[in-house]
């Protein structure tokens, strides 16, 4: 893929834009690309009124995110460890990083030379592996009364890693052990009653290395479309808080429809549904009237 780098200088400084050289649009999901350093010779032009101490580039340099994690490994107990759920490490890529410090040779504007880089470009979709092909979103009915978080986590893991077949009890064991809600020797597959407890989806998705970030509140309609329609397409995990502030529930949004009339619907997978059941809910009502009693309190964005 050709990459076009545009450098423009305005009254507020130098702007660096990195574009798809073919389409002129945003960078798509490609393996990491290193560009630079780029040297801009300003000799013979008016000095810029940039920062006196200079610095490096304007910081469009997310470093590669962490590679695929080591899988779900419950800490070893005294007897030598739990069942050890080890999905294979991801093939690399990862979430967006943060801006690194200025590149080497950064110099003050007005010295005649501006050095930018090196620039490391990761995929705009958050670092999906080049050969990632999302499977269908396989949310199943929660197997225990308080296991909505288990069912959602299991579905997200299987969506991004179709070859990883985890049972709900395996997910529960790993998460509850990691959060110390159960003892290290407790196995939810043989003692499910001890494991029938609520948990946080932030913890659960963190254990499976599928949590990109947790956001307080709902997503806008445009953000929903971006998550579901982006590359890769990602389900949206939602916490519903019940109106009496006593209890919450986790569901997933895995589709949407938008009509010319302005009607907007989200496609909901609720782990309380039996298998083979789904719901379309008006976007306006999933915000504060889900199941006649709940509001969208938190969002969990996920990553492969």
């Amino acid at each position: 893929m050709a990459i076009e780098i545009r450098v423009s200088r305005g009254t507020d400084g130098v702007t660096l834009s990195i574009l798809n050289g073919t389409s002129g649009g945003a960078i798509g999901p490609e393996p990491a690309v290193v560009v630079g350093p780029i040297v801009i010779d300003q000799s013979g032009t008016d000095p810029a009124t940039g920062p006196a101490n200079g610095g490096g580039g304007p910081g469009t340099n997310p470093p590669p995110g962490p590679g695929g994690g080591p899988g779900i490994n419950p800490p070893p107990g005294p007897g030598g460890g739990g069942p050890g759920i080890n999905p294979p490490p991801g093939p690399g890529g990862g979430g967006p990083g943060t801006n690194p410090p200025p590149g080497p040779g950064g110099s003050a504007f007005g010295s005649g030379l501006v050095v930018i880089g090196p620039i490391v470009i990761t995929g705009a979709g958050g670092g999906a592996a080049p050969n990632f092909i999302p499977s269908t979103f396989p949310l199943k009915h929660q197997e225990m009364a308080y296991w909505c978080w288990v069912a959602v986590t299991e579905a997200v893991k299987e969506y991004f890693s179709p070859s990883t077949k985890l049972t709900q009890c395996e997910v529960a064991t790993a998460v509850l052990t990691a959060t110390k809600q159960i003892g290290a020797n407790t196995n939810c597959c043989t003692d499910s009653a001890a494991c029938n407890v609520p948990a946080t989806l932030q913890d659960a998705l963190g254990v499976t290395h599928n949590l990109h970030c947790a956001i307080r509140g709902p997503l806008t309609w445009e953000d929903i479309k971006t998550q579901l329609g982006g590359t890769p397409r990602k389900p949206i995990c939602v916490r519903i808080e019940w109106d009496d502030h006593a209890g919450g529930h986790f569901i997933a949004i895995y589709g949407y429809r938008e009509f010319t009339s302005g009607i907007r619907q989200v496609l909901v997978a609720d782990p309380l549904f039996p298998e083979g059941t789904a719901a379309y809910v008006l976007y306006e009502d999933i915000l504060n009237f889900y199941d006649q009693f709940g509001y969208w309190s938190d969002t969990f964005l996920v990553t492969p």
Partner: protein, 220 residues
């Protein structure tokens, strides 16, 4: 005595009928226009069409049930089942397996008019409809002069739902957990087909005492 199945307010039924096509498979969306964009990460259960739901001359909406919601906090505060608040109506449409939907019509802002807020489709609605229709054969209703009127109770914080056979002042109300039997997630509600008010409340109080220890950001 047969189970009384109340009619929904005409505005609720009208909203269901008017808005339902916009939740179905199309291609006709009378008030929705056309679809601008649609995405699904997964093959979804088949959405019926209007003709699927009205085959053999069936009316579009049937078996309306008023939905009542009881908050876990109310149970924790010592309130009884009379604290459940009405939250709208649910309607069934269709009658064949895989071709039944449940729509929820409630009064919503900005002007309090009824609108269809959600539609459940796929495998479950047919099963729920079957359970609802079978309520007439419930043993307490046989050879009994008590009058029962059908409602639907939800206790979201506990993941409990039940058909509510409301008797008023004449007799204890009866509750039939949904789903029933082995499909019921709360084991305390899986052992019997029905519970009276005091038995259900006792179970809900026990469940609440346990569940309420997990505030936000926990979920169940």
């Amino acid at each position: 005595m047969p189970l009384e199945r109340p009619s929904a307010p005409s505005q609720a039924a009208a909203a269901f009928n008017k808005d339902l096509p916009n939740f179905l498979a199309g291609p006709l969306f009378p008030s929705g226009g056309g679809i601008v964009s649609a995405v699904s990460l997964s093959p979804q259960p088949a959405l019926p069409t209007i003709s699927d739901l009205t085959g053999a001359g069936a009316t579009l909406d049937h078996d309306p049930q008023e939905v009542f919601v009881l908050g876990m906090q109310d149970i924790h505060d010592g309130k009884d089942l009379s604290a459940a608040t009405p939250a709208g109506w649910r309607f069934f449409a269709g009658s064949a397996p895989g071709k039944v939907v449940i729509g929820y019509a409630s009064q919503r802002p900005p002007n309090g008019d009824y609108r269809l807020t959600a539609l459940t489709f796929g495998a479950a609605p047919f099963l729920v409809l079957q359970q609802s229709l079978a309520l007439d054969s419930l043993s307490p209703l046989q050879n009994n002069n008590n009058r029962y009127s059908l409602r639907f109770l939800r206790v979201p914080g506990l993941n409990v739902e039940a058909f509510w056979l409301f008797a008023g002042a004449n007799a204890p109300d009866l509750f039939v957990p949904s789903p029933a039997g082995a499909d019921q997630l709360q084991s305390q509600l899986a052992g019997q087909q029905w519970y009276d008010s005091s038995a259900l409340l006792s179970i809900l109080q026990t469940l609440t005492a346990d569940r309420i220890k997990y505030p936000a950001p926990y979920g169940s």
